[in-house]
Symmetry: C2
DNA sequence: CATTGTGAAGTTCTTCACAGCC
DNA sequence: GGCTGTGAAGAACTTCACAATG
């Protein structure tokens, strides 16, 4: 049903796939490192290795931005750094507020990676009156009461939530009402926001759980070998599938 | 080159798709909340709303685990909590070490979400001799020299790297050599690991850059948004979708 | 009935492989 | 020759829609 869309955007279109956008910062970091070592050009193969992706994917990604390479040579490092920075919107300055100055909030405030790439921590905000005025990362913590004023005075459109889960939605609502349209959420909760507001979440415990899943599988497979090799009836337990009966654990509640 | 890489070639062993695994912790959290409120059953529709996903997707996800629901009724909350916990490997205890006790490492050490879900911080490790012995989150920081012994004494298979970028690969190598097979990397660098070792990365600045990309696009569309409303019947307005992923608004000026 | 479980269709992302250009 | 840019094939993921079923 998609109306006209979907066709070759060719060089100039703004139809960059989300998966590609998510990798651009990775490329940018690798390119910045090369730039600092004064490397003039890279091939897709080299850059892909540095960024930890496959070279065909990298070339495809870049093709959405335009034809920035030279066949037989590679990509000009400085030029690519600029193009990707511009595409990501990093050539302008983004004031950011961090709400919730606990351990994590303080760590974020001190994190150099923010400042290094077009982001500027405009304010630190916390609900605890005892925190107000205390310096963290060289700037005084401000009280939540002033949130709206801070947002509007600084033209903030990106907010970072590092509060406890219970406070996150409320903080989110206030940020959005005050004009913030992009939120990076560290609180372990699902945020509901109106259309037009972007939320990305970073959840430490979820990442660990995903690792645990794979870890458990490794342990369980140690002897079972690869799927291919043993075609025979796989024997024994660990068969948790929709068993017709009798794999109900002792926990089954009433 | 390009050979030593190997992320996970695909999770083909037991049939659960990676995308599904990544959502299981989300479901688990929503279910745990329901459980605490003593809700006995949920429909896919309700649970999906709580987890911020689409209900068809949730049902499909659960179908990979088995047939754990009851048609016409829904899912038994306690039973599902158990099944998902087991699938994720959270019914066992995972000792974890955190390497790099700076601001971020300390924040992680204090983060309650770890302990709450089968993970136990077995040790905090830092390269700075001045840190050694200092208590963080109620446990003494240990020196990097003892890393191998700590790993083996505690049977640690999951490591968290919160060091500066420059130290990360070296720490990673030592962790792997000592027997760690899953790594959660907070350092802004690409880690190279041997086959069989899982790495997940959390990169604060990358998340912000992705937000900036969308933010920039919004700014550019500000005027185009209104113009569109006049045309279509029904369509798009208020799609009421909100994924953790955020999606590209259907505006797209060609 | 209400709601699950799932083939099938649809969409997005990845990889291949090679034409085209320097 | 070496390397990019990209159609086309393929794989993974999502969504639809409905038959199956408690």
């Amino acid at each position: 049903m998609a109306t006209g869309r979907t066709h070759r955007p060719a060089t100039r279109s703004r139809g960059i796939p989300e998966a590609t956008v998510a990798r651009l910062p990775l490329y940018l970091r690798a390119l910045t490192a090369l730039s600092e070592r004064s490397v003039p050009t890279v091939s897709s193969e080299e850059l892909a290795a540095a960024a930890g992706v496959n070279s065909a994917k990298l070339r495809k990604d870049f093709s959405y931005l335009g034809s920035y390479g030279t066949r037989g040579v590679g990509y000009d490092v400085e030029y690519l750094v600029y193009q990707i920075s511009r595409e990501l919107g990093l050539t302008q300055d983004w004031p950011v507020v961090i709400v919730g100055i606990g351990n994590l909030g303080a760590a974020l405030a001190n994190y150099g990676g923010f400042a290094s790439r077009g982001f500027r921590v405009a304010a630190l905000i916390d609900a605890d009156p005892a925190m107000a005025g205390k310096p963290v990362a060289g700037m005084p913590v401000q009280h939540t009461d002033d949130l709206e004023k801070i947002i509007s005075d600084n033209g903030v459109s990106i907010g970072v939530i590092a509060t406890p889960a219970g406070a996150a939605q409320q903080v989110c609502d206030r940020l959005v009402a005050a004009g913030v349209t992009s939120i990076l959420n560290f609180a372990p909760t699902v945020l509901t926001v109106p259309d037009g507001v972007d939320v990305r979440k970073v959840d430490l415990s979820i990442e660990l759980q995903i690792l645990a899943f794979h870890e458990q599988r490794k342990a369980g497979e140690e002897s079972a070998a690869d799927a291919d090799a043993a075609a025979g009836p796989a024997v024994t337990k660990n068969q948790h599938r929709k068993g017709p009966d009798g794999d109900v654990p002792a926990v089954m509640p009433a």
